[in-house]
Amino acid sequence: MMSAAQTQSVRTGHVTRMFIYLFLLLSALFYLLPFFIMLTNSVKPLGEITGGNMMSLPEVFTLEPWKAAWSSAQVGVEPTGLRPYFWNSIRMVVPAVFISTILGALNGYVLTKWRFRFDTILFGLMLFSCFIPFQIVLIPMARILGILGLAGSTYGLILVHVVYGIGFSTLYFRNYYAAFPTELVRAAQIDGARFFQIFRRIMLPSSGPIIVVCVIWQFTNIWNDFLFGASFASGSGAPMTVALNNLVQSSTGVKEYNVHFAGAILAALPTLLVYIVAGRYFVRGLMAGSVKG
């Protein structure tokens, strides 16, 4: 694949290439600059920010803002820091991602390998769910959560995110499994494997790339969600994003910008981490359908 890419790309002269690199470098800097400012300011004492230059490097290096953001800053009315909300988010994201991915995989499996009436219509409806704006479901969802007794809890949020995630995860897995040879399923049937055995022993082990794609997609979406979090889980059950907002809003008197910066980075850290760890597989997984291995 490497060589094919090289032979296909247009040959460029040295000067042109210099400009290209310069442009890329500037673009990278442009995107990195806000992060850089957040990072430098999160390790400054507050005085350096309010009294001086946001752009300058810290004169005194301190991790106090990070400690405060994590464990002692005022979030809402409680001086708890972001820590409990971080764990709220984890408790919400992990099951929601897991369940929606598994259900998406099952849906994709059923939709591509088992023929039944109205399967295309069903898939169409699921696809449709990807395009429904969040705002539209807020009120019906609140009602349902109320009926189920899940309002304001992490379980309620898990349910919301699973329901919302299934459309996308089904789409991913359906398209991936559509290219998966049906003869393998038939061979497994003849070998005596039943519905779930085929899924677990034949389909899932070959689904690595698409699982990564799905997990990254769901993880970032669910972790970064603010609307559902704010609507269905305020107070001590709130997820990280909502807590960050509360942290920034609630500081009475002085605005502790350094603590806010540290908190914002903390809130972004898990998604960053997921991209760094699994990003390569993400690109590979997205390409998996188009390039024959």
Binding site: E183, L184, A187, Q189, I190, D191, P205, S206
Partner: protein
């Protein structure tokens, strides 16, 4: 009642009937080949035997038991697919024993069965590899190993050789035949390749447009095809089909055909019953190998007829030379010895073995009996 009975089986997808009343009875140990052009319903029929497709009407019985509605794994069949369908995430060994594992066979027995099969197919050194690391021929062997290990009543093959290159295909064909002679298991084998059908089978079912056109031994199919489709589908180059008229001469039915210069030639039939067709148009069927040079003619035949005609093209093919001429307005191919001396445009005395000639009703396209 046979070992594998297909009784009046039809298959419909929605309103479209793709298989019409198929009736085939296979004896134990037979090698039945389903042959026909793409889309004629071979795979559909095979999948119904396997239980991978529902039967719309009719019955399929294996070893005396009607298996309609029985799960594929409980029919005691094994199948080899065109794409081999090896599980990519499992090693060769796991691929072979997966079926046994699913049937709850204990590990020591599975290992033993796997060793035997690996020995039989000479794939012992591959057992720890993944299918992705195998060549096409090796994958083919593993796929057969997976089928063999279950010791099934019936083997089903769906175009197992069509993904192999020409040379390997011939080798594997021989191996499958040897395997059948050794194991004597009943086999149903699907292919679109008429040579595979002829070489492998004990019986052939020629299929076209969802109908079984003819069911019979290879020689029967080849020598007395039931209709024009079977006649032209089986054999390469295809049987020559020449418009002709039946004319009685010396109390014997003859085929009157037109040569290239517009004159008529009279070819006496060996079949007396064609007298009933006196004066009517027929289609004369002669295989290329029944038209030769006089020296190359079949000495056992007592009905070799000389036919003078102009030579069209000559195509030396190594072992044979194919010579074309125009007969009844159609290009007609003769198969001659490689060293025959012929040149295009010359007039030549062809020797036609009329013992092998058959006639078709141009209306129904069926062969005119007996």
């Amino acid at each position: 009642m046979g070992f594998l009975d297909i009784r009046n089986v039809t298959k419909s997808y929605g309103r479209v009937e793709v298989l019409h009343r198929v009736d085939i009875s296979v004896e134990e140990g037979e090698f039945l080949v389903l042959v026909g052009p793409s889309g004629c319903g071979k795979s559909t029929l095979l999948n119904m035997i396997a239980g991978l497709e529902d039967i719309s009407s009719g019955d399929i019985a294996i070893n005396g038991r009607v298996v309609n509605g029985v799960h594929p794994s409980n029919r005691n069949i094994a199948m080899v697919f065109q794409s081999y369908a090896l599980y990519p995430n499992m090693t060769v060994g796991q691929n072979i024993t997966f079926g046994l594992e699913m049937h709850g066979v204990p590990r020591p027995e599975r290992e033993k069965a796997m060793k035997e099969v690996a020995e039989l197919l000479q794939i012992g050194q591959l057992l720890d590899r993944k299918p992705g690391q195998l060549s096409g021929g090796q994958r083919q062997r593993v796929a057969m190993g997976r089928a063999l290990v279950r010791n099934p009543d019936v083997f089903l093959f769906d175009e197992p050789l069509s993904n192999l290159d020409a040379k390997l295909r011939v080798n594997m064909r021989t191996e499958i035949k040897k395997l059948h002679e050794k194991l004597k298991t009943t086999i149903v084998y699907v292919t679109h390749d008429q040579i595979e059908a002829m070489t492998l089978s004990t019986r052939i079912a020629v299929m076209y447009q969802g109908h079984v056109q003819q069911l019979g031994a290879p020689k029967e199919i080849y020598d007395t095809p039931a209709n024009l489709f079977v006649a032209t589908f089986m054999g390469s180059p295809a049987m020559n089909i020449i418009p002709a008229q039946v004319v009685m001469q010396d109390d014997r039915p003859h085929a009157r055909v037109t040569t290239r210069d517009g004159s008529h030639a009279m070819l006496p039939f060996s079949q007396a019953n064609l007298a009933a067709w006196d004066g009517r148009d027929i289609l004369l069927g002669i295989r290329p190998e029944a038209i030769t040079d006089p020296d190359g003619a079949d000495r056992k035949s007592d009905n070799i007829v000389a036919l003078g005609n102009h030579i069209g093209l000559t195509e030396p093919a190594g072992s044979d030379t194919f010579v074309t001429m125009t007969l009844g307005g159609r290009d007609t191919i003769a198969r001659m010895r490689a060293d025959v001396s012929v040149s295009p445009g010359d007039r030549f005395e062809f020797a036609v073995n009329m013992d092998k000639a058959i006639a078709f009703d141009p209306g129904t396209e069926d062969r005119i009996g007996p």
